[in-house]
Amino acid sequence: METSRDDLGIAIRSAFIKKGTQQKFSLFALIIISILLIFAESIKAKPINYIKSVIKDLIYHSSLVISYPTKAINGIRNFTSGHMEIYDSNKILKKENQDLKNNLLNNDYLKLENIQLKKLIDENVTNSKNRVTARVMIDKQSLYLNSFIVSSGSNKNIKKGMAVLDGRNFIGRIVDVNYFSSRVLLVTDLNSKIPVIMEPAAHQAILSGRGNDPLTLDYLPKDQMIQDGNVVYTSGKEGLFTPGIPIGTVLKKSNQFYVSLFSDLSQVLFVNINVGDNESK
């Protein structure tokens, strides 16, 4: 028991009172100074206050110098995060701007489409029973083939030979039918031959397509009295189409008769397909 108490004493003496290896102060002395300092805090004497204020000033200034790197790092971090925030918000704003631009374009397109569809609705109201409306999907035309691909096919009871109208005007006929699409052979195509009748003389003829050249009227009677500006209609002969669909007007140039179409084929977006033609057949 005695030995153990001695050991404890030696250990405490060694740890607290003796100056350790290369230690200039003993722990015990420093603890006493700390306690004295705590008590000195409550003493309100001028010299002590003066010393304290000098120490505090010194420490505050040292702290200011020491904290420069930390402040600088914080500043850089804030700057970087701010920059990144701006970068991110810029990306978002750019995307928003692009979306808005797209929406604007889309709006313009929708307006145009709306106008077109309104026109179609007006027409469909009057002819809803006989006509099917389809959108022009492909209208790539060449010198040799003038045709459209439209977005309706046998799913809408479309059949070969049906008349295709732009509004109320004849522009061609169905030559190929798929389930969801059809090919329209335009009146301007070289293979297009349409039986027509002219008002008011009621002369019948064949309207022939000539590619990019104006359409011609073939097989006219010899004693015809066709005038410039006479209206050309489908004749309905042979039961091909419903008679009386307007096509265009006659243009007379050096004893040759041409037809100017009512519709501008390059501007057609929607077509009406005359389903009634099938019934008439």
Binding site: A11, A15, F16, F25, S34, L37, I38, S63, I66, S67
Partner: protein, 164 residues
């Protein structure tokens, strides 16, 4: 690397604990508060180096560092110094009575050091008429104790590097 170069490298590196001690005191980073966590780096630093290599962290510097912390945090001068010296005292005692160094030994002996230091801190604050946040003090002690092995590992690696 020559012997002289090795010696100078070791000499320079040996000042790092001291630099950290004064840096955290002057910068006010002696206690790291992260949302719920609160860790007293000061206690761990002092305890580890007094326990493992007291030559690198003199008692006078520990005292001075405590005084600086007190001034920075605006508490009466001597309170943190006293707490740190209590931690250093326990570490010095453990160093004298311990033969084998291990993390578990150090960690377990850190607990009385922490409790004693906080007791002295609490008594000093109590007599200074300053408000004491008991929950904070408890939380700080708990997380400082939990965090000790992490810093112990880092400091041990560094100590081995200096000695190598």
């Amino acid at each position: 690397m020559s012997f002289a170069q090795n010696k100078s490298k070791s000499k320079i590196l040996s000042y790092i604990p001291l630099l950290i001690l004064f840096f955290i005191s002057l910068n006010g980073n002696s206690t790291v508060n992260l949302n719920f966590f609160s860790i007293n780096i000061h206690y761990i630093l002092v305890y580890f180096w007094v326990l493992r290599d007291p030559k690198l962290l003199g008692y006078g510097f520990i005292f001075l560092s405590g005084i600086i912390s007190d001034v920075i945090f605006g508490i009466p001068m001597g309170i943190t110094a006293l707490s740190l010296l209590v931690v250093a005292s326990v570490a010095a005692y453990v160093r004298v009575v311990t033969v084998r160094i291990s993390l578990v030994n150090d960690w377990i002996s850190f607990l009385p050091a922490l409790l004693l230091a906080n007791l002295f801190y609490f008594i000093s604050m109590y007599y200074s008429d300053l408000p004491i946040d008991y929950i904070y003090l408890m939380k700080n002690s708990f997380f400082t104790f939990i965090f000790y092995p992490i810093l112990w590992s880092i400091f041990s690696l560094f100590l081995n590097f200096i000695k190598s």
